[in-house]
C-alpha cells in the first residue's frame, strides 16, 4: 500500500518475546504453554504475601544472546517495579527493567538493506491471562472474568526499535527478520499463534522532513499480516483525520482483525502514573566479561550470515531461488544444502529439494541425516534416480527413516543403475539399427524415440537425461 502523496508514516515497534527457559523468570514453576489452568503457580509467581523473586540465570543468558545478535551494548542493569492494579498481574506491579536495561543501542539490518535502530531490549515478566465470561467473550461487555496465572512470571524480552520504519512492508520485514534472529539465538520459538511473540506498533504520520507527529500505539498484534494491515489502516486514519482538520490524540488503540480497523482503547491520562522504583527484592545485574564471553561463544550464526552463505553457493540465483533460500533459512535447514555442496553436488538442486520436499514434512527432518540427503541427491544427479523417484525416496526417509539406497532398491528403482540402463540402451540399439544410424548421423529428434523405448522397458522409471547421456556415449 502507498500513502497519499506528500505523506510519510513513522513507525516504531515494541516486540515482546517469551524466552524458552524451563522455569519462570523469578521462580521454579514450569514455563510451559498449554498446561491446565493454575497448575504452574507457586507463592512467588502468585504474589503470595512474604514471597520473594530470584532471577533465572538462563533468562539472563537468553536476554544477552538477543542483545548480542542485535549489536546492543550490554551494561549493568537493574529491575524496577511498574505499579498498576490489574487482576492478571498477581502482585499488582510488574517487575521490569526501566532506566538501566541490560541491552541498549543496537541495530537490525534488513534483507532490503535498510537499518533499524534498536533502542533497548530489556527483561521483564509476563502477566497471567483472563478469560471473559458473558457478552462476546471479549473484554467489552463481559459480566466477569476468570484468571489463570500459569503465564504470570514467564520471562519476556521486550525489544524496542527506533522510529525508523517508514512503511508497513518494512515493518513486516523487520518483524520477520527479528523473528528469525530470535529463533536463531534459541531464546524464542517465535510461535506467533501461541502468543510467544507479540507486537505493539507506534504509528504516526507527517509530511516528509517535518517533525514527528503525535503517535498512537496499537497493542497486541499477533501475526505479521495483522501487523502490516493495522499499520496501514492506522496511518490512513491519521492522514484522513488531519486532512479533515482534526488532530491526532495520543492514545492506545486496539486492532480488530475481523473488521480490519483500529479503535480507541485508552487515552493517555493521569492514571498512567506507574511510580517506577527499584525493586528492593532484587539486586543489580552486571554480567562480567567472562559471563558475556561464554554467552557470545555459544551464539549461533544469525539469519543474515546464514542466508549469505547459502546464496554464495548459487550461480546467479533467480528471484524464485532466493525465495527458496529464505524458506531454507527460516526452517533452519541449510545444513542439508551445505552437505550437498561439500560433497561436490548441486547446491541449487539441494535448495529446491529442501524448500519443497523437506519443508513439506519439516517435523520429521530428524529422520533424515544429512548424508542420506546427500547420497539421494547424488543418485539423482548420476541418473540412478529420476527426479520423481528422488522425491519419493526423500519422502519415504522423512516418514520412516532408513537408508535411501535400500529404499530405492526395495521400490525397484535400482534397475536404473547405470549398468542396467547401459544394457537396456545396448539392446535397443541392436534391435533398432535404422533409428540408431539416423541418430548417429545427427538426427537428435530420435533421442526421444530411444527415451520412449527405454521408458517402456523400465516401466517409466528411467531418467531422460541419463538415457541421452548413455546414447551420446555410444554415438
Amino acid at each position: 500500500m502507498t500513502l497519499p502523496d506528500g505523506w510519510e508514516m513513522v513507525v516504531g515497534l515494541e516486540v515482546h518475546t517469551e524466552l524458552l527457559t524451563r522455569s519462570k523468570l523469578f521462580c521454579g514453576c514450569a514455563n510451559h504453554f498449554g498446561s491446565e489452568p493454575n497448575t504452574n503457580i507457586c507463592p512467588v509467581c502468585l504474589g503470595l504475601p512474604g514471597s520473594l523473586p530470584v532471577l533465572n540465570r538462563e533468562a539472563v543468558d537468553f536476554a544477552m544472546r538477543i542483545g548480542m545478535a542485535l549489536h546492543c551494548t550490554i551494561a549493568p542493569s537493574t529491575f524496577h517495579r511498574k505499579n498498576y492494579f490489574y487482576p492478571d498481574q498477581s502482585k499488582d506491579y510488574q517487575i521490569s527493567q526501566y532506566d538501566l536495561p541490560i541491552n541498549s543501542g543496537g541495530y537490525l539490518d534488513l534483507p532490503d538493506a535498510s537499518r533499524v535502530a534498536i533502542e533497548r531490549a530489556h527483561m521483564e515478566e509476563d502477566t497471567g491471562k483472563s478469560t471473559h465470561l458473558g457478552g462476546s467473550g471479549r473484554l467489552a461487555g463481559a459480566d466477569s472474568s476468570l484468571v489463570d496465572y500459569n503465564r504470570c512470571g514467564v520471562p519476556l524480552v521486550e525489544i524496542v526499535s527506533g522510529p525508523d520504519i517508514r512503511s508497513s512492508a518494512q515493518a513486516r520485514l523487520y518483524a520477520a527478520e527479528l523473528r528469525g534472529i530470535l529463533i536463531a539465538t534459541g531464546a524464542s520459538d517465535g510461535r506467533l499463534e501461541e502468543g510467544s511473540m507479540r507486537f505493539d506498533a507506534n504509528v504516526s504520520v507527517r509530511r516528509p522532513g517535518a517533525p514527528f507527529g503525535t503517535r498512537c500505539e496499537i497493542k497486541n498484534l499477533n501475526s505479521l499480516r495483522s501487523l502490516q494491515r493495522a499499520i496501514d489502516y492506522e496511518a490512513l486514519r491519521q492522514i484522513e483525520l488531519i486532512d479533515g482538520g482534526g488532530v491526532v490524540r495520543q492514545e492506545t488503540r486496539h486492532w480488530d482483525e475481523n473488521r480490519g480497523e483500529t479503535s480507541t482503547l485508552r487515552v493517555k491520562e493521569d492514571a498512567d502514573d506507574y511510580r517506577y522504583f527499584r525493586d528492593p527484592d532484587l539486586v543489580d545485574l552486571a554480567p562480567d566479561q567472562a559471563w558475556q564471553d561464554r554467552v557470545r561463544a555459544a551464539l549461533a550464526p544469525m539469519p543474515a550470515a546464514r542466508r549469505a552463505a547459502v546464496v554464495a553457493l548459487l550461480a546467479a540465483p533467480s528471484e524464485a531461488q532466493l525465495d527458496a533460500v529464505e524458506v531454507v533459512i527460516d526452517l533452519g535447514l541449510e545444513r542439508y544444502v551445505h552437505g550437498v555442496a561439500a560433497a561436490g553436488g548441486d547446491a541449487a538442486l539441494a535448495v529446491a529439494r529442501v524448500a519443497n520436499e523437506l519443508a513439506a514434512d519439516v517435523d520429521h527432518v530428524a529422520n533424515l541425516p544429512v548424508d542420506a540427503f546427500v547420497s539421494t541427491l547424488a543418485m539423482e544427479q548420476r541418473g540412478e534416480l529420476s527426479a520423481t523417484q528422488a522425491k519419493t525416496v526423500l519422502g519415504e526417509v522423512l516418514r520412516h527413516g532408513g537408508d535411501p539406497r535400500a529404499i530405492a532398491a526395495a521400490r525397484g528403482f535400482e534397475q536404473l543403475s547405470s549398468d542396467t540402463l547401459g544394457a537396456t540402451v545396448a539392446t535397443l540399439i541392436a534391435s533398432n539399427p535404422d533409428e540408431w544410424s539416423r541418430y548417429r548421423d545427427g538426427d537428435d529428434k530420435l533421442a526421444q524415440f530411444f527415451i520412449g523405448q527405454v521408458m517402456k522397458l523400465t516401466r517409466g522409471q528411467a531418467n531422460g537425461k541419463a538415457v541421452i547421456a548413455e546414447l551420446q556415449a555410444r554415438r
Binding site: 504475601p49 514471597s51 505499579n83 502514573d273 522504583f277
Partner: protein
C-alpha cells in the same frame, strides 16, 4: 522463668521434656492472654504434636538441635503453613499460608516448638501495637502502658513469661523499641543476615527479622539458628551463619566505643542517665568510650518516612481481593479492589500507602523519594566514617520508657518521633540491639542501644553481655 538455653539443655538431657515446657507455656498464655492480648492465635494442637515428636526423638537418642523443645512465639507477619497469618489486618481475613517462612523452617529444624502468632501494629506500621485490627497489646510490666511496636506482641510474650524467646521484625526499630519498653534484649541483624522469605513485607530494603529474649545468650542462640544464606532471598548475604553464642563472653576490653550525641539528645532524663551509666560500665570493663557526633542522623527520620511508605505502597498493592484474603463485592473489578482495600486496611496503613504513593508519583519522585535516597547515602557514609574510628556505637533505644495507651495516637508525627534513635541503622543496613540497662519513670526499664558495622553481631552481643552483667543479671 527458665532461659531458652536452659530449656534446650534440659530437654536434650532428658531433665525436662518439650511437652512439659510447652504445657507450662500454654498455662501462662491461658492465664494472661485475655488481659494482655498477646497472641492472635495459639496453635495448641500443632505445638503439642511437635513437642511430642521432639520428645520421641530425644527418647530415640537423636540430636534434636540447639533449640530442642524451646517454645517460641512468632510475630504474625511470618508465614507458617496452615496457621492463620493476619499481619493484624482485616484484609488477610481467613488466610492460611501454603508455605513456611525460611526462619520458621530453621527454628523447627533446630527443635523449637512454634506456639502461635503474636499481635502487631497492622503490617508492622506503628510503634505501640495499638494499630492492630484485633485490639492493642498491653505491656506486661504495666498493663496501662503500651509494649511498644510494631512487634509488641512478641515482646509482651517474653516479658509475660509466656515464652523464653520470640521473633519480631524490625523496619525502623520494631524489635529494639518494644524490647526497650518491655525490658528485653532485642536484635536487628545486619541487612541480609536473616532471610526475609516468608516475612510479609512492609519495606523490603529495611525489614529484618530478629529475636527477643530475656538474656543476651538466648538472643545469640536464636539468631545463630536464623542466620545464614538462603537461596530464596536474593538479598540474603552469601556467607554461612556466623558463630555468635561462642563470642557472648568475649567482653569489650580494648574496644573503642562511640557515645553518639544524636542518639540520646532530647531523650528523657532517666534515659540519658542510663546511657551515660552504660558508657561508664563499658569503660569499667576495659573499653575506651569516646563522645562522637554524627549530624547526618538528624535527617534520617524524614528519609525513613518517605522510603518505607514508598516501598510499602507497592508491597501492599497485592492485597486487592482477587487471590486471597478479604473481598468486598462490587460491580466491577476496580470498584471491588477499592471496596476491599478501603474496608480491609486501617487508618495508619492507608496513611502510609498514600504517603508512599505520593512520594513515588510523577512530579514528586525527585523532591521526596529521590531526595530521601540521597539522605540514605549520607547516612551510610556517615556511619562508615564513624566505624573507621570506633568499633561500636552507643546510644538510647527510645526517647522514653513505656508510655500510656492512647498517649500518642492523636497525631502521627508524635508517634513517628519514637523511632528517631532506631531508624538510622535500618537505613544503613547495619546491625543494632537494645539491652535493658537501669530504670526510669515508675521503675520501668530503659533500653540502651548498641550499634555496629555490618556483620558485627558477635561484637554487639559481647558488649551487651557486659552491660547485662553490670546491670545485675549475671
Amino acid at each position: 522463668m527458665k532461659s531458652a538455653t536452659q530449656i534446650a539443655a534440659d530437654v536434650r538431657s532428658g531433665t525436662s521434656s518439650a511437652t512439659a515446657e510447652l504445657e507450662r507455656t500454654l498455662t501462662v498464655i491461658e492465664q494472661r492472654n485475655a488481659e494482655l492480648n498477646v497472641f492472635l492465635y495459639v496453635d495448641v494442637e500443632g505445638a503439642r504434636a511437635a513437642a511430642a515428636q521432639i520428645d520421641a526423638r530425644v527418647a530415640r537418642g537423636e540430636d534434636v538441635g540447639p533449640l530442642a523443645g524451646v517454645p517460641i512465639a512468632l510475630k504474625d507477619n511470618l508465614c507458617q503453613v496452615g496457621v492463620p497469618t493476619t499481619c493484624s489486618s482485616k484484609i488477610l481475613d481467613g488466610w492460611r499460608p501454603p508455605y513456611n517462612a525460611t526462619v520458621i523452617e530453621r527454628l523447627l529444624d533446630a527443635g523449637a516448638v512454634a506456639v502461635g502468632k503474636t499481635n502487631l501494629d497492622e503490617f508492622a506500621m506503628g510503634s505501640s501495637t495499638e494499630n492492630s485490627a484485633f485490639g492493642p497489646t498491653r505491656n506486661p510490666l504495666d498493663p496501662s502502658r503500651v509494649p511498644g511496636g510494631s512487634s509488641g506482641g512478641s515482646a509482651a510474650a517474653v516479658a509475660a513469661d509466656m515464652t523464653a524467646v520470640s521473633l519480631g521484625s524490625d523496619t525502623g526499630g520494631s524489635i529494639r523499641q518494644p524490647a526497650a519498653l518491655c525490658g528485653l534484649v532485642g536484635v536487628k541483624p545486619t541487612y541480609g543476615l536473616v532471610s526475609r522469605y516468608g516475612l510479609i513485607a512492609f519495606a523490603s530494603s529495611l525489614d529484618q527479622i530478629g529475636p527477643f529474649a530475656k538474656t543476651v545468650a538466648d538472643a545469640a542462640l536464636v539468631l545463630e539458628v536464623l542466620a545464614g544464606h538462603d537461596a530464596r532471598d536474593s538479598t540474603s548475604l552469601p556467607e554461612p551463619a556466623p558463630r555468635l553464642v561462642a563470642h557472648v563472653n568475649d567482653g569489650v576490653a580494648g574496644r573503642r566505643i562511640g557515645l553518639v550525641r544524636e542518639l540520646f539528645d532530647g531523650a528523657d532524663e532517666s534515659v540519658v542517665a542510663s546511657v551515660r551509666a552504660a558508657a561508664d560500665a563499658l569503660r569499667a570493663a576495659g573499653a575506651e568510650v569516646v563522645e562522637v557526633s554524627i549530624p547526618e542522623l538528624a535527617l534520617t527520620l524524614s528519609a525513613y518516612y518517605l522510603i518505607a511508605p514508598a516501598e510499602a505502597s507497592s508491597n501492599l498493592a497485592r492485597f486487592d481481593g482477587v487471590r486471597y484474603g478479604l473481598r468486598v463485592s462490587a460491580e466491577d473489578v476496580t470498584a471491588m479492589m477499592e471496596a476491599t482495600r478501603t474496608a480491609g486496611f486501617g487508618a495508619e496503613v492507608k496513611r502510609r500507602i498514600m504517603l508512599g504513593t505520593y512520594a513515588l508519583s510523577a512530579g514528586y519522585y525527585d523532591a521526596y523519594y529521590g531526595q530521601a535516597l540521597k539522605v540514605r547515602t549520607l547516612t551510610i557514609d556517615a556511619f562508615a566514617r564513624a566505624y573507621q574510628r570506633v568499633d561500636l556505637l552507643l546510644g538510647a533505644t527510645t526517647p522514653s520508657v513505656a508510655f500510656a495507651l492512647g498517649a500518642k495516637t492523636a497525631d502521627p508525627m508524635t508517634m513517628y518521633l519514637n523511632d528517631v534513635f532506631t531508624i538510622p541503622t535500618n537505613l544503613a543496613g547495619d546491625p543494632a540491639l537494645s539491652v535493658p540497662f537501669g530504670t526510669g519513670e515508675a521503675g520501668l526499664p530503659v533500653g540502651v542501644q548498641l550499634l555496629g558495622p555490618g556483620r558485627s553481631e558477635a561484637r554487639l552481643f559481647a558488649a551487651a553481655r557486659v552491660l547485662e552483667i553490670a546491670d545485675g543479671r549475671p
